[in-house]
Symmetry: C2
């Protein structure tokens, strides 16, 4: 403790000093407000009232920035465990929480698909896998079931988010679904008989229920006690 003089004479640190946390929080704010294309080292620097080069002192590059932003959101969801519910319901709750979070922050979806063993993905595998013992699944299945659930959740949620994002904001959901259903029925009958048949179920279907049905399928496939 002796001899440290640099910080003594200085006024207390400005509350708006740069830091990794503040950079990531600001990045999340930009991503949420204006989408993935709005996050730029220049726009981020402007929001932080500094130059683009300053950010590189705290963050290696844009990929690391996105990974950190993704982890911040995912950690918030997986940490909120229901605890008193059945293991099946716990898994459903966490999965749905991730689905909603990716729907609310669509940029997570694009990133999760390309950072497989990063911290955020590990949190998802942990959230799924740690409930499998209570569920009664045999230990030999745990690895495959947990990673299958994680893959499904990421894949389905990313596609749902991309879908919601690509919809023009001035078209309501019902007419968008009706348009999609009509396009499905216009596909070639010889090549797409199945898609044409299920097109009728597209309007009025619930995205979250459809998502949970997939989770239930995987859980139903695991051996029961």
């Amino acid at each position: 403790m002796g001899g440290v003089s640099a910080a003594v004479g200085r006024p207390s640190r400005r509350s708006d000093a740069l830091s990794r946390e503040r950079i990531i929080a600001t990045a999340v704010a930009i991503l949420d407000a204006d989408g993935e294309s709005a996050l730029t080292f220049r726009s981020l620097a402007a929001a932080l009232a500094t130059g683009p080069g300053a950010i590189y002192w705290h963050v290696a590059n844009k990929d690391e920035l996105l990974a950190a932003a993704t982890d911040a959101i995912v950690a918030g969801v997986t940490a909120a465990a229901p605890a008193d519910a059945s293991p099946h319901d716990q898994i459903r709750t966490v999965a749905l929480g991730l689905f909603d979070a990716i729907d609310a922050h669509p940029w997570i979806g694009s990133h999760l698909a390309r950072e497989p063993w990063q911290l955020a993905s590990m949190r998802i595998v942990e959230a799924m896998g740690s409930r499998l013992t209570d569920l009664g699944a045999p230990a030999a299945q745990h690895f495959n079931v947990a990673t299958a659930l994680a893959s499904y959740v990421c894949g389905a949620a990313a596609q749902n988010a991309a879908n919601a994002r690509s919809a023009s904001p001035d078209v309501d959901r019902d007419t968008a679904l009706a348009t999609a259903a009509r396009r499905w029925t216009e596909l070639d009958e010889a090549e797409f008989p199945f898609v044409r048949r299920i097109a009728a179920q597209l309007p009025g279907h619930d995205d979250r229920e459809q998502f949970l049905a997939g989770v239930d399928l995987i859980l139903a496939g695991t051996a029961r006690p």
Copy 2:
């Protein structure tokens, strides 16, 4: 037929004339040879011996170019049906074919996640769903099972491809898995008990078997005849 004079006096079309097909085929070649970052309107134009602006006459933008390139590969996989196998084996074969195709062309993975209802995704849903009747799944389940399978296949394959891509080429698979396993065991015990426990199964596991296990879980979860 009368009065058309423009094409008459001309020499026969050069075989290297620009066309949508040639543009997409060349784009696939660049993507496969040097990866996603190598595909540029400038590099593509150079490979086609023209200027970047010429490409825009045949393709609306880069997204459409990637969608068309993705569809070209996916169509090749879903069209190759086994026919004489059991419906379960047919689904496994198509799923594994997609897994291998995405492993061989990793750029498909990143694109599939963000073009949900595009033609390539429809082909995957069709390939899965059209076998469900023979499998004995009740019609009420078809919609959910087919889309769940498609989401899982895309999600798992995209992550696998991203994983393979991020591995440095001078490190062999065994040591890469060993390194990943060690990193898993170094995670916080309180936060990641499950991941630490399954880390031992990481070395020596087979990516394709793990992938197929997920397909089997979903199929096992569907009601049987």
